[in-house]
Every structure is written in structure tokens, then in C-alpha cells.
């Protein structure tokens, strides 16, 4: 019999619908894979095998009764632990939320359950999604299933959606939710040889998603193929009156619209992304991508995004500023941790609770955010950053007058080892150099596996599209995927 854990969304869906196997068999196979890998990879904060089975039984019963099946019927998925799940601990990988058991369900997760998906567990992540390596989680590092050949040094699965990326690459789940604030879907996807798309800001509801930087946060799917991403994004997206920035637009039929022909399309290559001292493997992989899209019929044009170099500093003002406001809610009163030293008053309790509950990177960002928003500095930092953000978005608007999609690397290097960058916040921040600009402009962007570098580690290629044009992004992603022929997977050591 086929190893069910090797199957993606599309194959599971059709196999369940055809009766080749049952949804319960699929859930059992993935539950077993999750349990076996958990001690070594630590991809999950909590596992919920019974939830996966319950959802699968419902699908099998519905099928037996001849009822119509949802888009994700019988597909067990991992849920990033940033989505509130009713009755299941939701922590954002922070001690300050340890034990928090939501009384409600996030819109995105509810949409997925409505489509017939089941939950294998809550996936580990960087604390409050702040990080690029998963090393800021209060629940331990996630270990990438990938290793350098002949080397057992643990590698970063990327971040912040590092539990998601590790679990998918290790075949612990066929797909998972991610969230992307400055690259947190795309960079981990690139590091682990999988695909992931951040849709246009507002496509997926933020309701019930633990907030980091609200003007940037956007949920999206991570999976092993472009088609699987399209299927899952259709199930996740949709207008939600409970999110004030939700887009009131119908959800396009992205899966049905998939088309790998790039005939008549122009692909922009931003000259500012060609950095001095660029990793030669990354540069080569980018050239491969250009050749593949040309082969698919596209015309390649050079474009300019002149404010690219200001994107990271802009992001590291705006995101911490929003985080410092959003995280003000963790006060030890309504939910989560409370640290009440003897004889402490209310203010002391707030300060002690937040000192005990937040990790160092979260504190660092709250401090930066508090400073740039404080009286006397607001205009110099925050207003200036919002103005530069306007210029960055304008760069993209002008570029899209000359091209339909933009092709760039996803990350400046392949995965690095744990500990390699964790002592230097700035070195870690630079990992997002190619992913942050699209986030600041709210544009849809995806990473697809492009090949391996000389160490045998995956590299990703990034496609950035016009606002609302997820279809164009997915189609270019499909054209790349078909030509990259990426079949590498981590050798099982866990």
C-alpha cells in the first residue's frame, strides 16, 4: 500500500473521495508520523490526534452517506500555534500564554474545518512570530529535518512558521497554516524545500490570529506543491466582517485557474535584489528561475525597485511599533500568566508578569516599538518609516506597469545552523531582506522549491505579484515547479 504520509492535499482528497483509502486511515498514518518525530524535531507544541481522527470520521461518514465533500475532506493539517483554536491551548510559543485555552475559534481555522480538514496539532513557531529561525520559541527549538550531508548539526527550519515548514518537509502533515509578517511563510518554506504563499493583505481574516504587526500580518498555506497551496488558500480565504481590514471580495477559483503557461507574460527582475557578495548558489538558482520562466513563454524584463535597501529598516520600525501596541494586552489580568510578587500593586504586577512571560526577542521589539512611538521620537522614526513605506509600495506599483510578476530569491542563503545567528539580532533580521518589501506593500508572494545548494540544502525562488493577483503568482510558481522538478527530501534520521 502507498505510504499515505507521502501524499499531498490533492492526492489525499481524491483518494478519500474515490474510496481508495479512508480519511481515518490517513489521519492514523499522520498521527503516527507526528508522534514518532516529536521527540527529535519538536515541530508541535501540542498534538491533537483525537481531533484529527474525529474530523476524519466525520468525512468518512459523510462519504458513506453520499453527502458532498469539502475542498479539504479527509486532509489532516498542522495549525500554527498563532491561531486560536477552541478548547486547545494556544500560546504563540510564549510563556505568557501558556495554558491559554481559547473559548472561540479563529476564522481561518474554522474555514479549514468547514472544508473537511482535521487538526494534527498546534505547530511550534518563533515567539509571537518574531524570529527567522524558530529559536525564540519558549517551547524549545524546532529542528529542521534537513541536515548537511555527513553532518548532524541541527539546522534552522526558518521562521517564524518553522514548526509548519519542518512538519511538512518531514511528512508529518501534508500541509499547514503559516502566517507571514515579513517573510514568515516564504523563508521557512525556502529553508525546507516546500511551497508557501502569502496572499494579498486582507485575503485571510486576522480574527483569532494572535496579533504581531496588524498592518502586515497575513495568513497563508504551506504545502509541498503549488496546487496544494492553491487548494488550501481557497479554503482559508474569504471576507470576514469580524476583521476590519478583511477584503470584501469573492474568493477566486485559484485551483481551477492554475495554468503554467507564461506566454504573453512579463517577468520583472529587480536589479536592486542583486546584492554585492550574493551567495553564488542563490544567484545561480535565480538564473535558473529566469531560464525556466523564459522556457514557459515569459518575456524577462529588468525592473527597478529603488527603495529596496530601506525596506528592512522600515520594517524594523513599523513592526515593533505595532507589536508594542498589540502586546500591551498581556497584562496578567484577563488571560495568560500572572506574576504577582508579594505586596505588589497593579503596576508592579504588570511589569513582573511581562518580564516573566515574554522572551528576550519579544522584549527587545516591544522596547524598540515603545521608543519609536514615544513623545519626541514619533515623527523622526515612525512617521518617517510610514512615508518610506509609501515609497516602497509605489516602487512596486511603478514596476508592475512594466511586468506581471517579479522573480527573486526568497532568502539570501540556504538554512543556517541553530545558534549561528542567534547572538546578533541584526544578522538575523537581514535574513528577511528579500521577503520584507512585498510584505510592506501588502502584495501576494510565494516561495517554491528551486533546487539544492552545494551543501545539499534547499533553496527557494520567490514570485511577487500585483495586489489581488494570487492567480498570477500561483501560475508563475507552477511554471517554476514543473521545471525545477524538485523531488529531494530529507533523509529520515528522526
Amino acid at each position: 500500500m502507498t505510504d499515505l504520509t507521502e501524499l499531498g492535499i490533492a492526492d489525499i482528497r481524491s483518494g478519500v473521495a474515490a474510496g481508495t483509502f479512508t480519511a481515518v486511515e490517513v489521519a492514523e498514518a499522520f498521527n503516527a508520523a507526528v508522534a514518532a518525530a516529536q521527540p527529535a524535531l519538536n515541530a508541535f507544541i501540542v498534538t491533537t490526534p483525537e481531533a484529527a481522527l474525529a474530523a476524519a470520521r466525520k468525512v468518512d461518514t459523510a462519504r458513506a452517506a453520499g453527502q458532498p465533500l469539502g475542498k479539504l475532506a479527509g486532509v489532516p493539517i498542522g495549525m500554527k500555534d498563532l491561531f486560536a483554536t477552541k478548547g486547545v491551548q494556544t500560546t504563540a510559543a510564549s510563556r505568557i500564554l501558556e495554558g491559554f485555552t481559547p473559548e472561540y475559534e479563529s476564522t481561518v481555522s474554522q474555514n479549514l474545518w468547514n472544508a473537511g480538514a482535521g487538526m494534527l496539532g498546534k505547530l511550534n513557531l518563533d515567539q509571537f512570530a518574531m524570529g527567522s529561525s524558530n529559536e525564540t520559541s519558549a517551547f524549545g527549538n524546532v529542528i529542521s529535518p534537513w541536515r548537511r550531508p555527513g553532518d548532524t548539526a541541527p539546522l534552522a527550519p526558518g521562521g517564524s512558521s518553522g514548526g509548519s515548514s519542518a512538519a511538512i518537509a518531514a511528512r508529518l502533515c501534508p500541509a499547514a497554516t503559516g502566517t507571514d509578517t515579513g517573510g514568515s511563510i516564504r523563508q521557512p518554506a525556502a529553508f525546507t524545500g516546500i511551497a508557501g504563499i502569502k496572499p494579498t493583505y486582507g485575503r485571510c481574516s486576522r480574527w483569532g490570529v494572535v496579533a504581531f504587526a496588524s498592518s502586515l500580518d497575513q495568513a497563508g498555506p504551506m504545502a509541498r506543491s503549488v496546487q496544494d497551496c492553491a487548494i488550501m488558500l481557497e479554503a482559508m480565504a474569504g471576507f470576514d466582517p469580524k476583521d476590519s481590514t478583511s477584503l470584501n471580495l469573492p474568493v477566486p477559483a485559484w485551483e481551477a485557474g492554475l495554468n503554467p503557461s507564461m506566454a504573453g507574460k512579463k517577468v520583472g527582475i529587480p536589479r536592486e535584489y542583486r546584492l554585492d557578495g550574493m551567495d553564488p548558489d542563490v544567484a545561480r538558482s535565480w538564473d535558473d528561475g529566469i531560464a525556466w520562466l523564459k522556457d514557459a513563454g515569459a518575456e524577462i524584463v529588468e525592473i527597478s525597485l529603488p527603495h529596496t535597501r530601506y525596506a528592512l529598516p522600515t520594517y524594523y520600525i513599523i513592526a515593533p511599533a505595532e507589536a508594542s501596541s498589540n502586546l500591551a494586552r498581556y497584562d496578567g489580568v484577563r488571560y495568560g500568566l500572572r506574576d504577582l510578587p508579594d505586596g505588589a500593586g497593579l503596576q508592579d504586577m504588570y511589569a513582573a508578569t511581562r518580564a516573566a512571560g515574554f522572551g528576550p526577542e519579544v522584549k527587545r521589539r516591544i522596547m524598540i516599538g515603545t521608543y519609536v512611538l514615544s513623545a519626541g521620537f514619533y515623527d523622526a522614526y515612525y512617521t518617517q518609516a510610514q512615508k518610506v513605506r509609501t515609497l516602497i509600495a509605489r516602487d512596486f506599483e511603478l514596476a508592475f506597469q512594466h511586468c506581471d510578476v517579479i522573480l527573486a530569491p526568497t532568502a539570501p542563503t540556504a538554512a543556517f545552523a541553530l545558534g549561528e545567528k542567534s547572538d546578533d539580532p541584526l544578522a538575523m533580521y537581514l535574513n528577511d531582506v528579500f521577503s520584507v518589501p512585498a510584505s510592506l506593500a501588502g502584495l501576494p508572494a510565494m516561495s517554491v522549491p528551486a533546487g539544492l545548494d552545494r551543501q545539499g540544502l534547499p533553496l527557494g525562488l520567490q514570485v511577487i505579484g500585483r495586489a489581488f493577483d494570487e492567480q498570477g503568482v500561483l501560475n508563475a510558481g507552477l511554471a517554476l515547479e514543473q521545471r525545477a522538478g524538485f523531488t529531494a527530501k530529507p533523509a529520515k534520521w528522526w
Binding site: 484577563r334 511589569a351 511581562r354 515574554f358
Partner: protein
Amino acid sequence: MSVDTATVTKIASLARIKVSEAEVAAMVPELNGILAWVEQLGEVDVTGVEPMTAVIPNTLRLREDAVTDGGIRDAVLANAPAAEHGFFGVPKVIE
């Protein structure tokens, strides 16, 4: 602009995060490194540029002025570290 020990202590107090002297000492160079790096934004000419308010043009919706939920006190309090008599419990704030 750079921050010193006193400024970092003040920011921590504004952010309601208790910090020890050793933590402040460690944060000063870290925050200064990040601030020096973000300050390169100052060189961008932003004459006549509006600060961004909405990344994707959208209008703020108004909903019916109607009660849409309520009567869920126990659910609201379910995760509170100290809930008493149907209220959130906090340390005494009035002397």
C-alpha cells in the same frame, strides 16, 4: 539618536517590563545597534510623501448598531488568572 541607561530604564517602565540593572546594561548596546541601523531612513527624501495608512485601499465598514453577542461572562473569565465573583481580580489599586 542613541539611548543610555536612563533612557532604556524609562522605556522599560513605559512598556511595563521589569528589568534588572544587568538587563538594562545589556540592552543599551543592542538597542543602539538597531537604532543606528534604522536611522538610515533619515536620508530618504520624503518631501510631499504621505505616510502610509492602509496598504491595500479599503474603506472602514460600519455595522448595524446592534448587540451581536453577550451573556458569555463565564467564557470571558474562563482564562483569567484570578477571577472572583464574576469579575477579573486585580491587586488593590485604591489606598
